[in-house]
Amino acid sequence: MLKTRIIPCLDVKDGRVVKGVQFLELRDAGDPVEAAKAYDAAGADELCFLDITASHEDRGTLLDVVSRTAEACFMPLTVGGGIRTVADIRTLLLAGADKVSINTAAVNDPDFVARGAEKFGSQCIVVAIDAKRTSGPGEALEWQIFTHGGRKPTGIDAIAFARTVTARGAGELLVTSMDRDGMRSGYDIGLTRAISDAVSVPVIASGGVGGLDDLVAGVREGGASAVLAASIFHFGQHTVSEAKAHMAAAGLSMRLDL
């Protein structure tokens, strides 16, 4: 039986983990490779690096991080942030990423998703959907795509966009609620569910995890195939294995190989 995946996500800037990973006894808490190895050993099902390096010229450090991670961790690695061209995708895959997560470039040009999927296969094209609820209380639920870290509205309906990019060949959708991101009040279950019901590809729930029950809800109520979280793991609130045990106890199928 296919298991629900837990995906820790590391924000990386200029080759360093932003804020560091504070619970692990790492020689260098800011080294993404050290953090990746620790999550590999802890039983994470996949890893995600989100590159928030401001300038495109500094991408070399990210590629070095990706290739050193791929040499040490024999588990799937997704890399997102700043991917604009087919050449960007190729460079990351050759460095050792298994999947790339495309955000703004897919919003600007959904055909970019098709070009990536045709060249490298749908299995490695993840589209990151950052959405905010735009309907008021009492209105029919509606979410819009936002870019630039949730600051810039696009007027594009999130559910329609999910259908569009899936039809273009996205193999997976990473759905982040920009309302919930960093709020620790749980995923936006309505958003996750609406997108999961609208598409045939797997959905990763993201944005807002405050506790382990939120992970369960993302799958059970949100219909997600995988759950992504950052701070609850990085700051030592919970280990990956605690999260898995909790989700398994709630009746979800988890990989407990370790």
Binding site: L2, K3, T4, D40, F74, G96, A97, V201, P202, S225
Partner: protein, 220 residues
């Protein structure tokens, strides 16, 4: 025993670096430190190798075109596997290429080493997502050296899958293991000295490294 050479065929399909690193680690863990792992697009190197690995990610037709674009590579693989009888492992689309035909988008001829077609996964449960993406357990159809001492079945180790198409072998005895995903999905095939895994051993942590080590020791 003299040091062996394992040729991983480089034909422009995806990242072979991590596959090579996984084989190097598996060789170390198996005490086969002298085994040489080479990434190569040289047909001669493949023809003369002790063991051959055909990886592959992406679309079936693309992979086939990529393989055909390397001069004499299909002949070299065939020589290694069928004249010299060397152990051969296909991974993901590399395994699917062993089939007779691929039916992804268009009909593409495979190598025909494991008779059968590669068609879309159609889970009986419409709630199941495609691609079949993530960690699944293996159900054994018949014992095989590559799965050797690996715990399988519901309580066993997991393998990492990511695919929308699967190989249906004509001869059921060619199927070594399957996974359940709204029906049986072929996870591993083998015939004589040729084997293939739909999952990615190089991404499958413990199960994967154990399988690669078994391949390095395999004497079919």
């Amino acid at each position: 025993m003299s040091a062996e050479t394992v040729a991983i065929i480089d034909y422009g399909s995806g990242n072979l670096h991590s596959a090579a690193k996984a084989f190097e680690r598996a060789a170390r863990e198996a005490g086969l430190d002298e085994t040489r792992i080479v990434l190569t697009s040289e047909a001669d190197t493949v023809a003369q190798a002790d063991r051959v690995v055909l990886p592959g990610v992406g679309a079936y037709a693309d992979c086939r075109r990529g393989l055909d674009a390397v001069p004499c590579m299909v002949e070299a693989m065939t020589h290694a596997a069928h004249v010299r009888g060397r152990p051969f492992l296909g991974i993901c689309v590399g395994m699917q290429l062993l089939a007779t035909r691929g039916l992804e988008h268009e009909t593409t001829a495979g190598l025909g080493w494991i008779p059968g077609d590669v068609g879309p996964i159609q889970p009986t449960d419409p709630g199941l997502k495609v691609p079949h993406m993530g960690w699944n357990t293996l159900a054994i159809d018949r014992p095989h050296a590559l799965l050797g001492d690996i715990p399988t079945g519901d309580g066993g180790l997991h393998a990492y899958f990511v695919h929308s198409y699967a190989l249906s072998p004509e001869r059921m005895e060619d199927r070594v293991a399957h996974s359940d995903y709204g029906g049986a999905v072929t996870a591993m095939v083998a015939r004589d000295n040729v084997a293939g895994t739909q999952f990615h051993p190089e991404k499958s942590q413990r199960l994967g490294l154990a399988l690669l080590a078994n391949f390095l020791r395999w004497r079919p």
